[in-house]
Symmetry: C2
Subunit: 340 residues, 2 copies
């Protein structure tokens, strides 16, 4: 009988001072590895998680014969702080627990991931930084913060800086969740389920495109009607999550900006221009909150970047693995990128 491999490992990072000035004490960065680091330590790929995603959720782009092939690459999937697996409001002891969990930036996440790679694996150089959605935000930060250490960048359905509109969309989902008095400023004992369900319903319109609903693609996912989809998929998804974790991650997302640090001091153009990685930027062609236009702006200011929108009516979820044709499209582009 084979013993199942552990689901993930944890990097105990000790006390980490965050950009906000608070200390994340006994910080834990959970991660999963695929493949083996080669002798030259030249085959490492970092592939951080998306909003509320976990390490297992990235596996649609990892596999033998795919671009991210564990036979060739050493692929590390770090969990975002706040996602419930790494240090989060839901698993941090008092006094920094729950509503008192500190504000964490993408920068904080990436600096911690860098420590994991250097301290744990002796990896100082990445063949690729890749991610979808908030994962793309992290990949962008990797390329901007370590321009001479990241050879390639693949940003799928994400941006280097959260746009105003994207910020406003998140204000809406946040407002829906926190309108539930049971949320109680984050000091709930029972989950604020009314707010979680409301948040889910708001997200349902944003996550997928108008055409996705027009063509009733939710039926291909096993839902008989719009309402069946809203309850079965969306509410079901958010009910499994902790409200404070969801809010912590929204704060992180809203403040994503590769130039919001001492290196670039808010000069977004400078940060984009500093990226040396060969970059592949793949928005979903019908994404409503990370629309291709924001990436166009970025790509025009980067040295070696190509914009390749994913032709898909799955909206933001074009990059998320459920659209099989989109997965093929991404994988083909990633093969080209990794071969270059």
């Amino acid at each position: 009988m084979s013993v199942p491999a552990p689901d993930h490992d944890v990097f105990a990072a000790g006390d980490v001072v965050l950009q906000c000035g608070l200390t994340l004490r006994d910080a834990k960065l959970a991660y999963k590895c695929h493949g083996t680091l080669n002798r030259e330590r030249s085959n490492a790929i970092v592939f951080p998680t998306r909003y509320s995603g976990r390490h297992g959720d990235n596996e649609y782009l990892i596999g033998e014969g795919m671009a991210l092939d564990p036979k060739k690459y050493f692929i590390i999937v770090p969990n975002l702080l706040g996602n419930g697996v790494s240090s989060s409001p839901s698993n941090t002891p008092p006094p920094f627990d729950r509503a008192r969990f500190p504000n964490v930036t993408i920068h904080d996440n990436v600096m911690l991931q860098r420590r994991l790679l250097v301290e744990k694996f002796g990896v100082d150089r990445l063949a690729l930084a890749i991610g979808w959605s908030m994962g793309a935000q992290q990949a962008y930060h990797w390329a901007a913060l370590f321009p001479d250490r990241v050879e390639r960048l693949a940003a799928i359905g994400g941006s280097a800086r959260t746009s105003h509109h994207n910020f406003v969309f998140l204000e809406g989902v946040k407002a829906a969740l926190t309108a539930d008095a049971a949320w109680n400023g984050g000091w709930y004992e029972k989950p604020p389920t009314v707010g979680l369900r409301a948040m889910a319903r708001v997200w349902a319109g944003w996550g997928l495109s108008q055409a996705f609903y027009r063509q009733e693609l939710y039926k291909t996912m096993g839902y008989a009607s719009v309402e069946d989809f809203l309850v079965g998929w969306w509410e079901g998804l958010f009910l499994q999550r902790d409200a404070n974790n969801l809010l912590a991650l929204i704060w992180t997302w809203q403040h994503g900006d590769i130039s919001a640090n001492g290196t670039y001091n808010g000069d977004f153009g400078k940060a984009l221009g500093a990226i040396e990685a060969k970059a592949l930027v793949m928005p979903g062609s019908t994404d409503l909150y990370f629309p291709p236009e924001d990436n166009e702006y970025e790509v025009a200011r980067m040295k070696h970047a190509t914009l390749r929108p994913i032709p898909s009516i799955w909206g933001h979820y074009a990059g998320g693995g459920r659209d099989k044709e989109a997965v093929k499209f991404m994988d083909d582009r990633l093969k080209e990128l990794l071969a270059s």
Copy 2:
């Protein structure tokens, strides 16, 4: 000293049996007229209100020298049932008050408007049915329900049938409002302000385009920042409204469908094909909930329809009067339509 003209008139329609089977007792249809009916009664235009709008809100498209010139046309602006001026949850006496206000369809509205025109003004024929947003839904219904009585149709930022995606967007704003326990199933004594503010924040992302926020056009409206805009404009707007009225109108909107009646029995294609009016369909080119694609489908199935998207980054609000170039664009197209 001049005496101000009365702001609007009211058509007392008596007891009206609605599509849902309930009776709207002592129904009141509030309206405002501009201009004078000619002897032939051939110059009437109906221009119903939008979601939560009131008769005064349509005046950006009415004026001397404009297409809708009160010197030439007799323009009637009826208020939607549920908008707080016509019969609404907020002004209907028990037992059909507040949460018990019956579900009203666009069809119910238009049949009542038809009675106003015939019974009060002897108008049996329209030179034009026009509206923006929910106003466009009503205009579409006019053209489909009275194909031989509506000469022209102008549907701005609206659709003949509410799309699934549009329905889901509305589920989101509804969920945000009703997540506030103070809403109390509609039986609040004090307004559920947390829910109203949450609804406003959700709507803020939908109402305008990504590019509107990218280019910071809220600054042209007198708001210094995104947050200033969210509170000052959006929350301010919704705090002035009654929650039950807002929800009643969402029900009406969600169920908008020109074929949902005994004439067409759900055959949407047949209803579109029955429209005889010369039709001008003007979606906002960046509208997120009434996107041009839905109108393309409709125009392809209508006899005499032209699609003319309004070039604007004001999203849904392209048709709402704040984008002055869009007003000029619409007015020019309306002049062409009325001259034909």
